[in-house]
Each structure stands twice: as structure tokens, then as C-alpha cells.
Symmetry: C2
Subunit: 359 residues, 2 copies
Amino acid sequence: MLVTETSLRKFTTGIFLAMGCSTEHAELATNVLLLADLRGIDSHGVARLTGYVRLWEKQRINARPNIQIVHQTPTTATVDGDAGLGLVVAPFAMELAIEKARQYGSGWVAIRNSNHFGIAGYHALMAVEQDMIGYALTNASPLVVPTFSNERMLGTNPICYGFPAGKYPPVIIDMATSAAANGKLEIAQRSGKTVPEGWIQAKDGGYTTDPFALKSGGGLLPLGSDREHGSHKGFGLAAAVDILSGVLSGANYGPWVPPFVAFLEPPTDPVGAGIGHFVGAMRIDGFRPAGEFKDHMDNWISRFKSASRVNEEQGVIIPGEPEFEAEADRRANGIPLVDAVVDDLNEVARKLKVSPLAP
Amino acid sequence: MLVTETSLRKFTTGIFLAMGCSTEHAELATNVLLLADLRGIDSHGVARLTGYVRLWEKQRINARPNIQIVHQTPTTATVDGDAGLGLVVAPFAMELAIEKARQYGSGWVAIRNSNHFGIAGYHALMAVEQDMIGYALTNASPLVVPTFSNERMLGTNPICYGFPAGKYPPVIIDMATSAAANGKLEIAQRSGKTVPEGWIQAKDGGYTTDPFALKSGGGLLPLGSDREHGSHKGFGLAAAVDILSGVLSGANYGPWVPPFVAFLEPPTDPVGAGIGHFVGAMRIDGFRPAGEFKDHMDNWISRFKSASRVNEEQGVIIPGEPEFEAEADRRANGIPLVDAVVDDLNEVARKLKVSPLAP
């Protein structure tokens, strides 16, 4: 089904309103989800909406959060999300980081007591639009095994860096710190295919290419896949994200991070509140004039785009460029949704007495 | 040869003094190099000393730099290293970041016109010792190919995050963003062995396990090794390091970064000055009380150390712990140096009229 941006926006806002979100929050949460769909990151867009609803039904998401700054200095702060949607908590925190950067050059906010915050790129882009460097991280429910372990201790813990450019789209490096994202496994599960070695590990820590191994106690491997290829680096990155998001903010961390899915209960011995994020903003002109920086970014981008190719048909991909192109295309031509997602959304809409999704 | 810390320190300071460094700079540069040797990161310690001397002989390193802050806000700055040793320029910048963090919560400094800065971990540890989170990055001469390219466009561009803990040693995540470090290739070259697939790429972009492929136009692969295993993420990380270190500071970036070896000339069309670094510090108590954070870090560390093991004999390695143990051992029992390094050092010592290395 091909849906216009306007139609999908109206539908999504309707669901959030039906959950009891304020108009402001419903529109903001919709913005975050829609940007994922527009940018072609389908796993993090409206496909997740029904998951949020189910967590809200279980009272694990608070639709009317009292988001508060609980601690701060001129350029740092900790925000308590009051169990709200990460989709509204993280933008609140990034606004604060941007305001601090405006005044003092940089701003850094750790967030606790939150939930899934959508694509990290949304939050980094908020800073990029202000001629700042944006930084956004989040921890997530444990699916990834550390090097040498067969216990799921870390989430896919994404890191995002956003840099403004001049004539080119901003460079948005938004990446899970695991070798493969969970969404890719789900695709393999649905199609009945095996996955490449180095993506997952069997329950006993052994070799597997079976995408269902994750559901039977296996784990995702860190970026690098095995020790010889640097999985300790992927583990290190995921650890840094976990510490900044969880330990620094007072959220849960490691295996204590509550699951995103409503059918799994959170641990009964939490070490903090909810899941954690970390966002930051630095003014470009805190380092050099923004125009100068952007000219050099353009030069950086065009030099990398012209790097010699292994195969003539495929050049170097500048991080963020495919998403920028998808966004232009989907804003103009609509957003494709798979049937399973549409059915799921309409079922939730029926329950919440919201009009079904129109094309 | 096993050398005491005191003896190696005296020798190294002597070389830097003979280059014309001030006493303060000679001692600081020695501190940075020695910490690498003490922590077992032999590739970044005194083994590099003769390389610095050769660059100085070619007037590409300035032994008497006038290191200056060229731009700043309360929490950001750009430092020009005046072509000095990165070993003294980066600590100057980190001192500034720490001072800004003391006043405003965080401090971030981009550095241009510098040279190789030793181990990133040294600089991050400076912040950690002040109950701050430390962050240190550097770009480096191009050896790494982006995904889909066979052109060496990026350095091994390390990232370091340092976090203080309580009863445990600090967590120091100090990692190259390539699948394997160049030092590991050199070991394979010396021993005549092949290297694992996924470390390097042949000149034409094809498969190779020949460690000499790098010397005949091949390239190191980014962390992730190939597209299917996330090499675009390793490329993205290396790109973020390059932009923060080079584009933001006004240093060279990408293929323009000057080589570390004196026998290769720097590009004749520089886009900036020297190589670039980026360092930062954030006060822990800008987010939550430091004692609370450290208690949770201890909990984080002990939980990860007790994660279930794939093989009983090898548990999860906490980043920074092996280096901490090496440091205790080598401070007490001396630093082992291979003969080739000792010979090299003594040859340079003879030239500079410095007493040879004593045990």
C-alpha cells in the first residue's frame, strides 16, 4: 500500500491522541516516526507504532509524562522522561542541549526513564539544522553478546553523528553497533533464508546461520563479528553507548534494560529507571566559521564520492545520502507500507476508534 | 631486552631534549610514549621514537612549537599545534578541555597542525583522573579504503572513550576504526604468515590474505570488513573521526592527511594544516554525583565480568583492564623491548649524542 505523507501523518497523530498524548506530543512523536518512514528506515517508522500502543496498554509507556531536568550545569544535564515515549523525551533533551550550545558552545544531556526514541538520526538532525554537530545514542534491550560470552548483555545500541554540509545533504552516520540489525534477521526469518555467518551466534556460543537462532537463546554479534575481526571493538562501542545512556543518566544498563516488546516483562531488579539516551550538540562556529566548515565538508564529500571504485557501477556511499534521496522521493510519491504493517495498524486503529489508514 | 621504567624514561627524555624540546615538553612527550609501553601497547610507545626524530630531521616536526588557542567559546576551542609533537599538543588541548569542563560542565577542543599523538588513551585518562569522561580522537595518514572503493582514503582513525570506575580500573575503550591495526600486519610480514581474510584488500579491491598487499597498493578494511558484515559502519566511524579531527579543526583530512613516515612526502595540495585531533571532557557530576556513577560502573563491570562464557577459560574482557594489569606488571618488573627497536633507538641516540639505552 502506498500512503501519502499527509495521510500517514494524520493517522499516526490520531493514534497518539487516542493514547491520551497532548496535541503537541502527538505531533512531535509523529514527526519522529514519519521521518524514519520518509528516509526509508522502515524498521523504525510506523511499523513500530503498534508496539508503542501495546506498551502503553501495559502502562509501561506514560502518555502524559512530566519530563523534567533533574540535574544540570551550564552545558550538561540529566533529564527524567517520566516513562514517556522516547519520541518526545529525546527531542525535549536535544532542545535543551541546543539551547546550552547556543549559549556556551556545546550542550550534553543524559536521559533516563525513557522508552524507544525512534531513529537516532532525527535527534542529531535537530542540531544539524542549527549549524551544530549533532550526537545521539541510546541503549536498548539486550540482544547482543559481548566477545567471548554467550549471554545477551547489550542492545544494538546505535550511535549517530550528524554534520551539516553546504551544497550536499548533511552527513548523517546513524549505525547500530552490532554486525547486523535485528530487522535484517526478521527479513530472513520471513523469507526462510539463512543469514551470513558472523551475524549471530547460537545459544551455546557456536556457529550458526539460522535466523531463528536468536529466538532460541542465541545472540546478535557485535560489529566485527569475531575477535579476529575486531568484535571487541563493536563490543567496546556498544559498551560506551550503554554507559553514556544508562550509567550516566541513572537509567537501566546492560541486561537490565527493559524489553521493547510488551509480551516480555522488564527485569524485576532494575538498576535504574527505564531505558537511557544521550544527546549532544556543538556549535560549528565554536570551532571555525560555519561557512568555512561547510565548504570543507563539501570538498570532503565530493572527494570521497570520486574515490576509485572496486566495481564501476557502485561508488562510495556518503552516510545519509541514500536516506536524503529516499526522503525526497517519498515526500513526492508516497510511502510504501507492507500489508502486514497496514493490517496491524488498522487493527490498533479499530481498538482505539481511529479511522483506518487511507492511501 | 628488559628495561626499567626509570631507565627508559631517562633515555627518551634525553632524545627529546637533543631534538631541542623544552624540558617540560620532553618530559611530557616521554610520559605519553612511556604510558603506551607500560600498558603493553608496544606499537605506540618508544618504538615510534625514531620515527618522530626522522620527521623532525625533515623539519616536519617543530621541537619548539608555539601552541595557540585560535578560536574559542566557553566550552569549545580550536588549537593550532604549530607543527609540534602531537605528544605535547594533544595534552595542551586536553588541559584546556578539562579547564572548560571544570567551569561549565564540559569542554571540547579541535586541534590542527599537529602530528601523531601517541595512544588516544593517554589523553582520555587525563580527564578520567579528574572524575570526568574523557574522549579523544585523531585522524591519521590514509591506509583504509571506504566500502566499495579501492583507494586509501582514511587513517586507522582511533576513537577513545574513558570512564572512571570505583574499585575497578577505569574503562578505557581505545580502538582503531579499521578491522585490524597496521601493527598486526607488520607482525605477519616479519613472520612470513598470511593474515585472516577481512583485514586487507588487494590493490584491485579483490580478496587477499597476503600481508604485503598493503605495501603494493592494497588497503586496510574498515571495521566490519565487508558490506555484509557492516564495513559501512566502520567507514562511518572513521569518517566521523576524520571530520571532527580534520574538517572541524582546519587540519588536513581524508587522503590529504600527511604520512607519519619521513620517507613519504606530504601531499603538495594540502587542504589544511598538519594532522588533526579532537578531545573532550565532561564532568561526571554534571550528570549525577560521581560516587553514584562509580558505584554503578562497578556494578556494570562486575556484571559483565560474570557474563556466561563460550569457553570456560576466557571471560568477557573489560576494555582497559588488560592494559591496567600490564601497567602494574611493567612498572614493577620492567618493559620488554625487541632487539630491532633497541638497535634503532641506540642508532638514533648515537647520532644525537645521547647515552645508549641501559637495562
